[in-house]
Symmetry: C2
Subunit: 402 residues, 2 copies
């Protein structure tokens, strides 16, 4: 029997306990031994909960118990999760986490401590919820030079954008509906401003390069500026709008950014709707591959945490290889990214001529709102586009094209 | 340095050598040691080949060389691959293979021999080419009860069906084109009759159940009967036709079959075109997930073989857990499968009434060919459908609905 502790008995933590309970036999078989939840750490009590008797309030009981070999950290946030994780790893206890913020911020240090103490710090659940993506990158695509990762990594924003597309509604309206239905947080900033996706692509970029990609260095733009009219334009071009998290290696320089993009039907991510997530990976031998599934939710995320527990159980006393050094990657400035843009400006005499003068070859798009002129331009660098767009009278908005 | 041998220097075997050469540094890093191809076994000589000096004709040199720890079996077919594999495993040499026929036929025995000899028999490349699917099933979805797997597992048939859809052409015509372009074999039976997909779903079903699913027990129907008119009907219903390989657990009984199905836009497999493959997996906690990519081709398949080599290198002297017992699974009779059907019959007076009398509630579909009557019926068991359809005058064809 392998005894474990769950720290943080919120949505994911209670999911972990539920998954271990409901799939007890399968999990024990896969782990090679029975997995038993000995402690659940939380500040609160849970009277009436079937696991009420396992709930404790002092982390010391876990840290001091030599029988505890594996800890599930499902608290979220940096503190005190960071301290607990470090303390556990220093004692040779493996930690499995869904905490993307902590992984993105202290990943290399915690992985190093795990290695030094012959245990593991695993984080399958930190990206893509239940979609296996960390393990495929670390264990499966080992014969590849991975040169790009493009993901829809946030369920809330994908749900909102899908709703805006199908209902023709505006952002604020759909956000409110999503909040009322529990698909978006009361404070939605981390999702809708792209911060959540940013942390996740930082983790994937680090695994792709084997070095550390700081999330603070990643250009991040959310979806709050996207409107129903933008979707009408997208539809008229047989495209849709998705919040993409991108990490791409071009001429040995890494570009990483999060932003809404228009994408066409020829892209597999076009078809990723609602709360689903997908990660599109390109390797130099394999070409394209994609990993798709529920990117959030109690049980899917918990299932990923438990798959890490199984992996730790199979490797007690041994560190599984993971390449994520502390050396920071110098990202290419996003200003130098080359791409195409969709642009809306206020209609006025000669606007077409002025746009063409600035951007060269433009493709005019039929207006989907009164008194507007819309066009596609590029390829052009972000910096050049910004400079030229700044001088364009009546600029309404611009969206990047994939 | 870890020395390996490649047996069979055809498409995949030469791909393995190429991948190891081109991604040498990445692979050595991931494996923890340099991977060196010491021998290439083939009946032929390869004058002028950069690896000409490694080519040998006698397998004994490999078997008797204690430095060889890992063998890539890329010969295909049962004999002599089976004998070579067994001999290698008995000597504690791990074997990585792309040989789906051998894996489907002798998988449990070879896995057992590997376990007994503290080495590994790995077969990531046997299903889905370069798509990581075996490892996700064995290492990632370990907290799940997997209750269904639905795959597009054959690139040739998916290419043919995609072409038939976009060009409105008939099967024979597209097959010829595919053969001329090298996308289909001169003898295409293994692909177009579904045998290849059958072996692959047998492997996936075995991993799903942990027991042995015999490919001979799987009901298999190919795509040779699918016509351009069928695609016109599919299109009129906003559907397409795909060769699906299915393994689904219903009330503790496993149904497994390969057949063309009509599927709608709401199914992620709808969007899997051309030579791409995808595997759609449902687990009781995670819900749906999908793995998508190039299901065939020299480098993608070779990349999967090499990922197995890396895994073997990381686990020298230790067997990686794999659950595939020799106990045969008793499949539920396909006759008892319940589903819906699309049916075409010759138009005649009262045909609508007769169809409704037999099948109950039917949905009439606008005819897409002269003198035809078409409808959807079910849910109904395969046996009941077959009995009723047999008595229906002028039956032209039927296709299952997903």
């Amino acid at each position: 029997m392998i005894q474990i502790a769950v720290i943080g008995y919120g949505t994911v933590g209670s999911g972990v306990v539920e998954v271990i309970g409901r799939n007890h036999d399968e999990i024990s078989k896969k782990a090679g031994e029975e997995i038993y939840v000995k402690y659940i750490l939380d500040l609160r009590d849970f009277p009436g909960d079937p696991y009420e008797d396992r709930v404790i309030h002092d982390v010391a009981a876990i840290m001091e118990d030599p029988e505890i070999k594996i800890i599930c950290e499902t608290m979220g946030g940096i503190r005190p999760a960071y301290d607990f994780t470090k303390q556990a790893l220093l004692q040779g206890k493996s930690v499995c986490t869904s905490n993307k913020e902590l992984v993105a911020t202290h990943g290399p240090e915690l992985i190093r401590i795990a290695t030094e103490n012959k245990c593991n710090y695993l984080f399958e659940a930190s990206v893509g919820g239940g979609i296996p993506i960390i393990r495929p990158l670390n264990y499966s695509l080992t014969a590849e030079k991975i040169d790009s990762i493009v993901g829809i990594l946030n369920g809330t924003t994908n749900f909102i954008l899908s709703k805006m597309e199908t209902e023709g509604a505006d952002f604020a309206e759909v956000l409110k509906e999503a909040q009322d239905n529990g698909f978006a947080e009361r404070n939605p900033e981390a999702d809708v401003e792209g911060h959540d996706a940013c942390r996740k692509i930082a983790i994937l970029s680090s695994l792709m390069t084997g070095k550390n990609v700081r999330y603070e260095d990643i250009y991040t733009e959310g979806i709050t500026g996207i409107t129903a009219v933008d979707f009408r334009y997208a539809k008229s071009m047989d495209m849709t709008i998705k919040l993409l998290a991108v990490s791409v290696m071009l001429a040995d320089r890494l570009y990483a950014y999060v932003a809404p993009f228009m994408i066409g039907r020829d892209h597999p991510l076009y078809f990723v709707h609602d709360v689903f997530n997908a990660v599109y990976v390109h390797g130099n031998m394999l070409g394209d591959s994609m990993y798709y599934g529920r990117g959030a939710g109690k049980l899917p995320t918990a299932s990923a945490v438990v798959s890490d527990v199984v992996d730790c159980a199979r490797h007690l006393g041994k560190t599984i290889m993971c390449f994520w050094d502390s050396e920071n990657v110098q990202l290419a400035p996003v200003d130098e990214r080359i791409g195409r843009f969709f642009v809306r400006v206020a209609a006025s005499a000669g606007v077409s001529k002025r746009a063409a003068e600035r951007f060269g070859d433009i493709t005019v798009i039929s207006p989907q709102a009164e008194d507007e002129f819309a066009f596609l331009c590029g390829p052009v660098s972000e910096a050049e586009f910004a400079a030229k767009a700044a001088g364009l009278d009546g600029l309404i908005s611009r969206i990047r094209l994939n």
